[in-house]
């Protein structure tokens, strides 16, 4: 009598499990590449100058700090509108003080370049630049221009020929209906 020995079950299963494992591995590789959008091991094949790593802890912490400070500022102040009638005012009905600074007062090619910065975003009002020297008085005016987080005055380029040599006092005043600020600086005209 011939006794038949049963086939070992693992031999049958290996033909099922192995393709499954290979398929899973290939899928995982593709998924990884998809997740990192074309980069393998964080390395972009398109432009090595672009860092596709996850942000560092420092970068994340810095981003959180930026977010918190931005939101805190929003919370601290009510939303502003361009409606002049509700613009903030100083106490006792006086105008609110606004910080301004003369950022540049350089003489180049016969022109005195004076630049003013208003620490607020404004679209109206007037910048007045007064230059005084002995009995001489030169006055220039310009409108403000809003920048991203500040404003500038649309000026001032003054021909040096209008000014005599010596020490001049510069006074820049910005004023609109709700706020006012001024700053002075001494320069020497050569």
């Amino acid at each position: 009598m011939k006794i038949q020995t049963p086939k070992k079950p693992w031999k049958k299963r290996i033909f099922i499990v192995l393709p499954l494992l290979l398929t899973t591995l290939i899928a995982a590789v593709f998924a990884y590449v998809y997740i990192f959008n074309g980069s393998i091991l964080g390395w972009s094949s398109t432009d090595p100058s672009i860092n596709l790593d996850k942000p560092t802890d420092d970068q994340i912490k810095s981003g959180v700090k930026i977010k918190n400070e931005s939101l805190k500022k929003d919370k601290d102040s009510s939303t502003r509108t361009t409606d002049k009638t509700v613009a903030p005012q100083g106490t006792n009905g006086s105008k609110k003080a606004v910080d301004i600074v003369i950022t540049a007062a350089n003489q180049n090619d016969g022109v005195l370049q004076v630049r003013g910065l208003i620490y607020d975003v404004v679209g109206d009002g007037l910048c007045t630049l007064t230059l005084s020297h002995d009995e001489q008085l030169v006055t220039k005016t310009a409108e403000p221009q809003a920048q991203a987080s500040v404003s500038s005055c649309k000026g001032f380029d003054i021909p040096v020929s209008e000014l005599t040599s010596g020490t001049w006092q510069l006074t820049l005043v910005y004023e609109n209906e709700t706020m006012k600020g001024s700053v002075s600086k001494t320069i020497t005209i050569q």
Partner: protein, 712 residues
């Protein structure tokens, strides 16, 4: 300036370096970038006057929309959409990578804005991060998108609603950036190219400083954030500085350089060409040149911190710094090829590697695959006149002149920082001569003489050789010339000016006058010079030296005259005298024991006979005067120690009449050649008395004239 080679700290940079290495292997002549560590702390390379280059700032095609999307994805791998409510907003929270507005993704809006205003989209990405933290935020609020780039948001007041919205915010940012880049007459910035006063923070009491703004893109960034980071902010890296710190521009710089590597952008757009490379087998001291050109392929000018030629001795990474030099900052004009020449003097023997490099924002872009290897050699410099010493065998204290001539046998000029003749006494004490203080070059085939004079002031071994200095390194050009310098022995010539009286009288002064000449060409100091005097025997006779003076120093070949050595003849014995010197305890005797004098008794006579009581009679017990006069018949003075009239009773009992102490008879015929003695004697006893005239010279008594005897 030193090129920096450091390990990259981040995985990304590590992978980047691997990739660069692969590129290196594949392509000869390619470039590499060496970086500084990531910005853990502090910030490196931040220039407040040039935060970013215009060329980078306006590189609008640096990324397409899909690349922007991939980048945003990489920074938020998992969005926390269902984060707990916060800041008054309930979930869902939409991350930037998933954000859309009017059907366009954030990535597309960024790309479109970049294209519209021809601004690098990376600038907008970093702007979104540094204003609202949107790029890394895993649960951003709607309000962050409203003021996404911070446009219309003063630091001291609420934001302006007219600028709300991601698209609107990016659009206004791009509009402003482009207007400033174009120097639009309709956009008035508060800053100019040149000097500007920029505060540290919104708090005016913190103050600020003048910043020289170098380019439009930096002007635009200050237009956005009108503050510069103070030192505390820079020292903190991504962290917090102090109460006067503002972070906007610092964070822009940090995020931009960490995420987009502007150095790589620059590298990809700079074409370096080698025009001429240095001689690969230079001689040490030879000047070599490296000439290169750079072409800026970007659409705008770019200013790099420095362009130079890196040089390394022996090893490209760890060798000693032998940089040819650096020029910078250098503005590379868009589309223009600019040439640069660097020269250096080879100061070492060995292999020197040299390659062009550019320094930009603290990082080095290095070209030419670690460069050209040069193998330097010792220059062929021969002696046309060997090192000589005059006099050839100098004595200690003698002035010595050393001289040699060298010739450059190379076909190139050789730099000489110094040429001289080192001299070492006992191998260490410096007696160098001839060192030239100014550096120069020795032309091919040219000769140069080096010489100098010094004094070998001490006896002992001296070694001299010809040496050439370049870059602090010395090279010996001649065999060592050694001399064992000996101390000079006294060498004098004696000349008598006046011989002594060889038959002097006792009591007479004899003099020995002479000249003594130093026959050496070096100074000589002797302990003493004098005239020896000996009675009876020149070896063992009684010492009657005329005297000694010293120490005496004779200059080279100097002759000195001595006329003051005298001695009074004191004995009737042979008297030897000669000149001698003492040098370090030893005597040198001159003139073969000198002069032998034969003293004699002085010719003294009684010029007035002795009288007792003036020749009158006197009684026993009477005191009476006794007188006598003595005359010197010598033609020289006669010295005596005592002169008197001895009186003896019964030949032994002393009744001396008179004695005078030391004195001198003048020479015969001179005033004072006669001395009169006068005394008194009390002849108080009866019996014989003997009287005579006596002179004492140096303890010896001599009787002058005859004795006189009276018997009372």
């Amino acid at each position: 300036m030193k090129a920096v080679f450091t390990k990259k700290s981040s995985i990304w940079k590590y992978k980047l370096s691997l990739s660069l290495l692969a590129i290196f292997v594949a392509f000869s002549g390619s470039s590499t970038i060496t970086t500084i560590p990531a910005h853990a702390s502090p910030v490196v390379g931040f220039n407040p006057g040039r935060i970013i280059d215009d060329a980078v700032f306006t590189d609008a095609n640096s990324m397409n929309a899909s690349q922007i999307q991939a980048f945003l994805n990489s920074k938020v791998p998992t969005c926390d959409t269902w984060h707990a409510p916060g800041y008054g907003q309930n979930p869902p929270f939409i991350c930037l990578k998933d954000y859309t507005e009017n059907g366009r993704s954030a990535a597309q809006i960024i790309f479109d804005t970049a294209q519209q205003y021809q601004i690098n989209p990376q600038v907008f990405i970093v702007l979104l991060q540094k204003e609202q933290g949107l790029v890394t935020d895993t649960w951003p609020l709607n309000s962050q998108y409203r003021t996404a780039t911070g446009y219309g948001c003063p630091d001291t007041a609420p934001c302006d609603s007219q600028y709300y919205g991601l698209t609107n915010q990016l659009n206004w940012s791009g509009k402003m950036f482009r207007a400033i880049m174009n120097n639009s007459p309709n956009w008035y910035t508060p800053y100019v190219l040149g000097n500007n006063y920029i505060r540290w923070s919104p708090n005016s009491s913190c103050g600020g400083s003048n910043v020289y703004i170098e380019n439009r893109s930096t002007q635009a960034l200050y237009n956005y954030t009108p503050y510069q980071p103070n030192q505390a902010a820079l020292s903190a890296g991504y962290g917090t500085g102090d109460s006067c710190s503002a972070y906007g521009n610092r964070n822009f710089y940090l995020y931009f350089t960490d995420w987009f590597n502007p150095v790589m952008t620059l590298r990809n757009n700079l074409t370096m060409s080698i025009i001429s490379q240095p001689d690969t087998t230079p001689a040490r001291g030879q000047t070599i040149s490296y000439k290169v050109s750079f072409r800026n392929n970007l659409s705008s000018d770019v200013t790099v911190d420095a362009i130079g030629i890196v040089g390394r001795l022996g090893n490209v990474t760890s060798g000693a710094n032998r940089d040819f030099g650096w020029q910078g900052p250098v503005t590379l004009r868009s589309g223009v090829t600019q040439e640069y020449t660097f020269t250096t003097v080879v100061s070492d023997i060995g292999t020197i590697y040299a390659w062009p490099a550019v320094n930009y924002q603290g990082k080095y872009i290095q070209y030419n695959n670690w460069g050209t290897a040069m193998n330097s050699h010792q220059p062929s410099i021969s002696l046309t006149s060997p090192l000589s010493m005059t006099p050839s065998s100098p004595l200690a204290g003698q002035s010595v002149t050393l001289s040699a001539s060298i010739k450059n046998n190379e076909d190139q000029p050789i730099q000489i920082d110094a040429l001289g003749i080192p001299i070492r006494y006992y191998g260490k004490y410096n007696y160098d001569v001839g060192w030239t203080s100014a550096s120069g070059t020795l032309a091919p085939g040219a000769t140069q003489t080096v010489s100098g004079t010094t004094i070998f002031d001490k006896p002992g071994p001296y070694d001299a050789w010809v040496s050439w200095n370049l870059g602090g390194q010395y090279t010996t050009l001649s065999p060592v010339l050694s001399r064992n310098v000996v101390a000079p022995s006294p060498n004098f010539t004696l000349t008598y000016l006046e011989a002594p009286n060889l038959n002097p009288a006792v009591g007479e002064d004899v003099a020995v006058k002479f000249k003594l000449k130093n026959n050496l060409s070096v100074p000589m100091t002797i302990d003493a010079v004098g005239v020896v005097g000996r009675y009876g025997d020149p070896y063992n006779g009684a010492n009657r030296d005329f005297g000694w003076v010293g120490p005496e120093t004779f200059a080279a070949n100097e002759e000195k005259t001595y006329t003051s050595f005298t001695s009074t003849v004191s004995r009737l014995d042979k008297f030897y005298s000669w000149v001698a010197i003492n040098y370090k305890g030893a005597y040198t005797h001159y003139n073969n024991w000198g002069f032998m004098m034969t003293p004699r008794t002085a010719n003294l006579s009684i010029s007035s006979p002795m009288t007792i009581n003036s020749g009158n009679p006197f009684q026993i017990g009477q005191t009476v005067p006794v007188t006598v006069s003595i005359k010197n018949n010598e033609n020289r003075p006669i010295r005596f120690d005592a002169l008197g009239i001895p009186v003896r009773y019964y030949g032994r009992y002393n009744y001396d009449a008179a004695w005078i102490n030391a004195g001198t008879f003048a020479a015969s015929g001179q005033s004072g050649d006669t001395i009169s003695l006068s005394g008194s004697v009390n002849f108080n006893k009866s019996g014989p008395y003997t009287l005579w005239t006596s002179i004492n010279i140096n303890g010896n008594y001599y009787t002058i004239g005859s004795q006189k005897t009276i018997d009372l």
